[in-house]
């Protein structure tokens, strides 16, 4: 079991470490894979041939993301008052919901917390503890969806060798998180909100287009032509805030070493491939492992894996079933 601290450090920017030791079960699976190489290859071939290309989880996720954002829009436009407000703060049939990162910015900048702010923040905290933390990113954030579509364009251009992906250090996001928190405290303004594409897009959907959309478009262009998924991967403090919530969440992606052929398809589609470090040959220290907190639970890897080694799982519940 990778320690809590290790997972947290990887999320903050450290490179995943090779395991020092394996559990007996994992050790045996690793060994078997090496011994029966011919069998292993044959099984791999067989699985490949019978692979079903599917987008089950992606389609479900897009449907949920669009539905949630649409609920905000129709609540205002049709005045049905189900989900009033925007993603930064809202009321679901009267109950306060407040985005954790926006709440953090306001609390640090204003230095005064009223009861409603606290209630909304606590509600959202528990909601995302249950649902996986960064689940917010891939299942709710409208920028994530835009970025996913523009990522497809980026990958096409990369394939044609017209552009290359420039990586940044993953720790940059941690630096941003600290800087934006400090800036809120020192300046007394919610500095991050000025540039947050999540807030900008959410408000634009609900209250109508704004000039700020030009900034969001520039970000998308930057991601297409310079660096794949740069905002979500290296900048967005919202992602890190929800990632921290995800450290204690029971809902996560589960990896089964015995089903894995170590082909790495999952890492190619992943927004945060460092969390899938365990799928590299020889990296899994246990037979069954849960994927780290930085994982957005988007399910692209689940859809992609030809052999079902990656699945959704709920800690505790899995053992019961």
């Amino acid at each position: 079991m990778k320690s809590f601290k290790e997972k947290l450090l990887v999320m903050l920017g450290r490179e995943p470490q090779k395991p020092a030791a394996y559990s007996p079960e994992a050790e045996q699976i690793h060994k078997l894979k090496r011994l029966n190489k011919a069998d292993f290859e044959a099984m791999k071939q067989h699985t490949r041939e019978h692979q079903l290309l599917q987008h089950k989880w992606r389609n479900r996720r897009w449907a949920v993301l669009i539905a949630v954002n649409l609920l905000f829009v129709v609540s205002f436009w049709l005045d049905i008052q189900m989900l009033e407000g925007a993603l930064t703060a809202s009321r679901f049939v009267g109950f306060h919901l407040i985005d954790l990162n926006s709440a953090l910015q306001v609390m640090l900048a204003h230095k005064h917390i009223i009861v409603n702010l606290l209630i909304g923040t606590a509600t959202v905290f528990f909601l995302w503890v249950l649902l996986g933390g960064r689940t917010f990113c891939s299942w709710v954030c409208p920028y994530h969806l835009m970025a996913e579509w523009f990522e497809a364009l980026h990958l096409k251009l990369v394939e044609k060798k017209w552009v290359t992906d420039h990586e940044f250090h993953r720790g940059t996001r941690t630096v941003f998180w600290v800087l934006f928190s400090l800036l809120a405290i020192v300046t007394g303004y919610t500095v991050f909100e000025t540039l947050s594409p999540t807030g900008i897009l959410s408000r634009a959907l609900i209250y109508g287009p704004s000039l700020a959309l030009a900034w969001v478009f520039l970000l998308l262009l930057f991601e297409v032509f310079y660096s794949r998924r740069a905002w979500c991967r290296y900048v967005c403090p919202i992602g890190l805030t929800y990632g921290m919530v995800g450290t204690v969440s029971p809902l996560r992606i589960v990896y089964r070493l015995d089903k894995c052929f170590h082909e790495g398809d999952c890492r190619k589609v992943c927004l945060v491939p460092h969390v899938l470090d365990v799928v590299i040959k020889g990296r899994a220290e246990e037979a069954v492992m849960s994927i780290g907190p930085d994982c957005t639970r988007c399910g692209l890897c689940v859809d992609t894996c030809p052999s079902g080694a990656l699945t959704y799982g709920v800690k505790g519940l899995d053992k019961l079933l």
């Binding site: 609540s75 205002f76 009033e84 407000g85 925007a86 993603l87 930064t88 703060a89 809202s90 009321r91 306060h96 407040i98 985005d99 926006s102 709440a103 306001v106 900048a109 204003h110 005064h112 009223i114 409603n116 702010l117 909304g120 420039h166 990586e167 940044f168 250090h169 720790g171 940059t172 630096v175 941003f176 800087l179 934006f180 800036l183 300046t187 007394g188 303004y189 919610t190 500095v191 991050f192 909100e193 000025t194 540039l195 807030g199 900008i200 408000r203 609900i206 209250y207 704004s210 000039l211 700020a212 030009a214 900034w215 740069a230 290296y234 900048v235």
Partner: protein
């Protein structure tokens, strides 16, 4: 590091390439790229201060707003105030407002707050206390911002509780262009206050207490124009004063009183304007000076 460079096979290449192994160079480039990204994004975010620093960008804020700096800090930019306003008076700031992005404001000439919700629904809706009935003790009240007594809403003057729970003014009305003021010229007014194309709405108690209607649907006919006085939703906030400039002719002139909360209805309803500005306007955040 320079004596350990397996990548350089020619002296020229050695001179051109920075020292270190390929891996080190990649790491160094990545570090520089990351630093530039950090500097760039933080720099852009800090540019948001410029519009805030420019006083000309001050906006009329919804009722119950904290002082400007505290307001920008405490507003979570969600627009719940926008959603509850019965006359859609509240608009949100854009990128050009810098740190004021997503922060609510009112353009009084386009659509003023006429308190047709009776209670400050926007204040009730605000989740962070940026709009508030009760200002926290540690936040100071600027001299002259405090209202001497709770304003009485003309619309519910006969109710058991006729007051509006508003302790500080949003701004203060001012007769900015007395030379074009119809009353000051002794002129009356007949017709739609702002023309047929005006989209603004207002509550008229004689029409419907709970359903604001377009101003264009409610034409006026006055011997002497007094729209800013009669349409003001607050009791004792403005009156017509008759002054004699020494020529023996008494002329009317709108006089703003201390109970003015700065809602902007007078600015919206004023039928005349010059240079894109009504005869009477609201100065946002302006305080009362006795």
């Amino acid at each position: 590091m320079s004596d350990n460079n397996p990548e350089s096979d020619t002296p020229a290449g050695n001179a051109a390439k920075p020292a270190g192994s390929a891996k080190q160079r990649t790491a160094r480039r990545r570090f520089i790229r990351s630093s530039l990204l950090t500097g760039g994004i933080v720099g852009l975010a800090l540019l948001g201060y410029l519009p805030v620093a420019r006083a000309s960008r001050t906006r009329l804020r919804p009722p119950g707003a904290l002082d400007e700096k505290d307001f920008l800090a405490s507003c979570i930019k969600c627009g719940q105030c926008v959603q509850v306003c019965p006359v859609q008076a509240i608009k949100l700031g854009d990128l050009t407002d810098g740190y004021g992005i997503g922060v609510p404001h009112i353009d009084a000439r386009e659509q003023a707050c006429d308190f047709s919700c009776d209670a400050g629904q926007c204040i009730l809706a605000c989740p962070t206390g940026a709009l508030t009935y009760i200002k926290p003790d540690f936040l100071p009240v600027r001299p002259g911002a405090h209202l001497a007594r709770l304003p009485i809403l003309k619309a519910k003057e006969k109710d058991p509780e006729p007051t509006l729970n508003l302790k500080e003014r949003m701004g203060l009305a001012r007769l900015a262009q007395p030379q074009i003021c119809l009353a000051a010229q002794g002129k009356g007014f007949k017709g739609q206050a702002r023309g047929a194309g005006f989209k603004g709405t207002m509550r008229y108690m004689d029409v419907d207490r709970w359903k604001p209607i377009p101003v264009a649907d409610h034409p006026y006919e006055r011997e002497l124009c007094d729209l800013c006085v009669t349409e003001c939703p607050i009791k004792d906030a403005i009156r017509l004063k008759f002054v004699d400039n020494g020529d023996g002719v008494k002329r009317a002139v709108p006089e703003v009183l201390e109970q003015c909360v700065g809602c902007g209805v007078c600015e919206m309803i004023c039928p005349v304007e010059a240079g894109g500005m009504a005869a009477i306007v609201v100065d946002e955040r302006k305080t009362w000076e006795a």
